[in-house]
C-alpha cells in the first residue's frame, strides 16, 4: 500500500487556500491561524516524508493508480523530499513576516493575498514532486500566475514590472511547452523516465537538440539566468513585502532544481545530455553572468534591488556548478540550492524588518541602524557573512564544493568568477554594515525619518529573522550528514 504522506503535504496548503478564501473574507482574524496551521502541518509531514524516503528508498507514486507512462507519475526520492521540506519550512518561516506586512499594505484584500500565497506554495511542491513533463508545465503555470497576481497587488510601479514578468514568463512557459511538444512528437510519451528510455536511439537527431535547447532556454528565462534576467530586478523589488519574502528565496531555486532533475533524468551512459562544447559554452555564460550581476549589484543604491542582483549572481553559481558535470560540482549545486534559499530568506526578512520600521531601503536611510535595530542588523550580518562565504555559515560549504568542482573540471573562468563574486559580495555587505554601524545616529537625526519613533522590528518579523540566522549556522555545521546521506545518493557516480 503506497503511502500518501507526500500528497497530504501538498493537499494541506491547497485545501486551506480555499478555506482562507471563504472564511477570511469577512473576519480577518481567522487568516493567520489557518495559514500558519496548514504550513506547520505540511512542514511536519515533510520531515516524516524525508525520513521515510531515506529509510525505505524512492517511491514512484501515480495520481489515480495507473501505471506510469499512462498515469501521471510523482517521484519521491531523497532530493525531492529534501526540496519539499525546504519549501514548506521556508514558507512557514516567511509567513510570520508576511502576516504583519500584508495587514499593513493590503487592508481588505488579505484573504485574496493568502489564497494566492498558499496556491503558490502548493504549485512549488507540485513542481518538486512531478516526474511528468506536461504536468511540470501545468505546475510552472500555477506558480507563474500566482506570482504575477502577488506582484501586481503591490503599489505604484508594481503593475508595470508585473506585466513585463508576465510577458517573459509566458515566453519561458511557451518555450518549455514547445520543447515538450517536440519530445512528444519524437517519443510519443510524456513521462520523463519513459522519454529518457527513447533518447539514446535519437542520439544525433536535430529535433532532439532543438527540443532540449527549447526546454533549457525556457527554464533559463524562468530562473533569470544572466542574459535572460531582465524581468527579475524590477519584479522582486516592486512586489509587496509579504510576497517578496516568499518569492525571492524559492522561485529561482526550484527552477534550478527542475533543470538539475531534467539533466539527471535524461542522463544515461549511452546518452550524455552535456556534450563537451555545449558545456564549456554554458559555463562561460554562467561565469560572465556572475561577474556582470555582481558588478551591477555594486551600482545599486537600494538594498532590495542589490539583493535581487545577488540572486541573479547566485543563479549563475548553480547553473555553472550543475553544468560542470562532475560529482563535486553537482553536489555543490544541490547544496547551494538549499543554502541559497535560506540565505536569501534571511536577507529579505532583514530588508523587510528595516522597511517596516524606517519605511525606505535606500542606503542613506540605513545610517546608525545598529543602535536602533540591534537584533535585526545582527541577523543581517550573519546573512551577509553567509552570502560572502565565511566558514561557520552554510554559504561557505556549498561555495567550497563549487570551487572544487570548477578546479577539478578545469573550468578556470568559473573558479575566477566565483572568487570575484565573493569579493564583490564582501565589498557590498561591508559597505552596508559600515554605513549602518559607523553612520552615527546624529547625522541621521536631521533626516526626514528622524521623527519616526525608531525601535526594534515587531517580534512577528524578528523571531523568524533570528531563527533563520541561527538556521544558517546550523545548516552550515551539518553539511557533512546533509551531503552524505541525502545529496550524495542523488549524484550518479559515473557522471
Amino acid at each position: 500500500m503506497k503511502s500518501n504522506l507526500h500528497m497530504y503535504v501538498m493537499a494541506a496548503p491547497l485545501l486551506t487556500a480555499f478555506l482562507v478564501n471563504i472564511f477570511g473574507r469577512n473576519n480577518r482574524k481567522v487568516i493567520a491561524p489557518l495559514v500558519l496551521g496548514a504550513l506547520g502541518l505540511s512542514s511536519l509531514l515533510a520531515i516524516t516524508v524525508l525520513k521515510r524516503t531515506l529509510m525505505l528508498g524512492d517511491l514512484s507514486y501515480t495520481a489515480g493508480a495507473w501505471t506510469p507512462p499512462w498515469g501521471i507519475e510523482l517521484l519521491v526520492d531523497p532530493l525531492s523530499a529534501l526540496m519539499l521540506l525546504l519549501i514548506s519550512a521556508v514558507s512557514f518561516i516567511a509567513t510570520f513576516a508576511a502576516l504583519p506586512c500584508v495587514k499593513r499594505d493590503l487592508k481588505d484584500r488579505q484573504h485574496i493575498f493568502f489564497t494566492l500565497y498558499l496556491i503558490l506554495i502548493t504549485g512549488l511542491m507540485g513542481l518538486v514532486l512531478t516526474a511528468d513533463a506536461f504536468n511540470l508545465y501545468v505546475m510552472l503555470e500555477i506558480t507563474s500566475i500566482t506570482t504575477y497576481g502577488l506582484i501586481a497587488m503591490g503599489r505604484g510601479r508594481a503593475s508595470l514590472s508585473s506585466f513585463n514578468y508576465i510577458i517573459m514568463g509566458s515566453v519561458a512557459a511557451s518555450f518549455y511547452l514547445l520543447g515538450v511538444g517536440y519530445l512528444y512528437l519524437l517519443t510519443g510519451t510524456l513521462n520523463m523516465a519513459d522519454i529518457a528510455r527513447y533518447l539514446p536511439a535519437l542520439q544525433g537527431s536535430a529535433a532532439l537538440a532543438t527540443a532540449l535547447a527549447f526546454i533549457l532556454i525556457g527554464l533559463w528565462i524562468k530562473m533569470a539566468f544572466f542574459p535572460l534576467h531582465g524581468w527579475l530586478p524590477r519584479a522582486y523589488t516592486d512586489a509587496p513585502d509579504g510576497a517578496g519574502v516568499l518569492i525571492a528565496p524559492l522561485m529561482t531555486k526550484v527552477t534550478i532544481y527542475l533543470m538539475v532533475r531534467l539533466m539527471l533524468t535524461f542522463q544515461s551512459p549511452t546518452f550524455s545530455l552535456i556534450s563537451m562544447d555545449v558545456r564549456t559554452l554554458v559555463i562561460w555564460a554562467a561565469a560572465i553572468g556572475i561577474v556582470c550581476a555582481s558588478s551591477l549589484a555594486l551600482a545599486q543604491r537600494n538594498l532590495k534591488q542589490m539583493l535581487t542582483y545577488i540572486i541573479i549572481a547566485e543563479v549563475g553559481y548553480m547553473v555553472g556548478g550543475a553544468w560542470l558535470a562532475n560529482e563535486q560540482g553537482m553536489t555543490g549545486t544541490l547544496l547551494h540550492i538549499v543554502n541559497d534559499a535560506l540565505m536569501t530568506l534571511c536577507l529579505f526578512l532583514a530588508a523587510i524588518a528595516i522597511a517596516y520600521r524606517t519605511g525606505s531601503l535606500h542606503f542613506d536611510h540605513l545610517k546608525g541602524l545598529y543602535q536602533r535595530m540591534p537584533w535585526t542588523m545582527a541577523s543581517f550580518t550573519v546573512g551577509a557573512f553567509a552570502m560572502i562565504g565565511v566558514p561557520p555559515t552554510c554559504g561557505f560549504y556549498s561555495k567550497w564544493y563549487l570551487l572544487l568542482g570548477g578546479i577539478e573540471a578545469g573550468q578556470w573562468e568559473f573558479v575566477v568568477a566565483l572568487i570575484f563574486s565573493s569579493l564583490v559580495n564582501a565589498v557590498l555587505f561591508f559597505r552596508i554594515i559600515e554605513l549602518a554601524y559607523f553612520g552615527s545616529l546624529q547625522d541621521s537625526e536631521h533626516h526626514a525619518h528622524a521623527s519616526v519613533q525608531q525601535h526594534e522590528a515587531p517580534w512577528w518579523i524578528l523571531s523568524p529573522l533570528a531563527l533563520t540566522a541561527v538556521l544558517l549556522i546550523v545548516v552550515g555545521l551539518s553539511t557533512g550528514p546533509l551531503v552524505n546521506n541525502v545529496i550524495r545518493l542523488m549524484v550518479p557516480v559515473g557522471f
Binding site: 478564501n21 499512462w70 501521471i72 487592508k107 504536468n135 519524437l186 536535430a206
Partner: protein, 90 residues
C-alpha cells in the same frame, strides 16, 4: 531594440524549422505519438472507465491530476484579477 528582436525571432524560427526534419509526416498513423501510449487509451479507456468519450476519460481519470491543477490555475487567475482590481484604497 527592434532589429535585435527580429534577429532573435529569425534564429528561433530557423532552429524550430531545423527541428521539424525528424518528425513523421502529418496524419501518419504509425508516427511515435499515435503508436505509443495512446494505443492503450483508445483500446482500454472504455473498458476501464465506462466512459465512451476517451478525451473525458483521459482528462478526468488517467490524467486527472493535470485537470485538478488546471481548475486551480483558472481559480487563481480569477483571484489574481480580483486582487489586482478590487482596491478600496484609491
Amino acid at each position: 531594440m527592434k532589429p535585435l528582436a527580429l534577429l532573435a525571432t529569425l534564429i528561433t524560427g530557423a532552429l524550430l524549422l531545423y527541428g521539424t526534419a525528424d518528425f513523421a509526416a502529418w496524419g501518419d498513423p504509425q508516427s511515435p505519438p499515435n503508436s505509443n501510449i495512446s494505443v492503450r487509451y483508445v483500446e482500454q479507456a472504455v473498458k476501464e472507465t465506462h466512459v465512451p468519450n476517451i478525451v473525458t476519460a483521459v482528462l478526468g481519470d488517467y490524467r486527472g491530476y493535470d485537470t485538478m491543477f488546471e481548475l486551480v490555475v483558472i481559480y487563481s487567475a480569477g483571484m489574481a484579477v480580483m486582487g489586482i482590481l478590487r482596491r478600496r484604497e484609491d
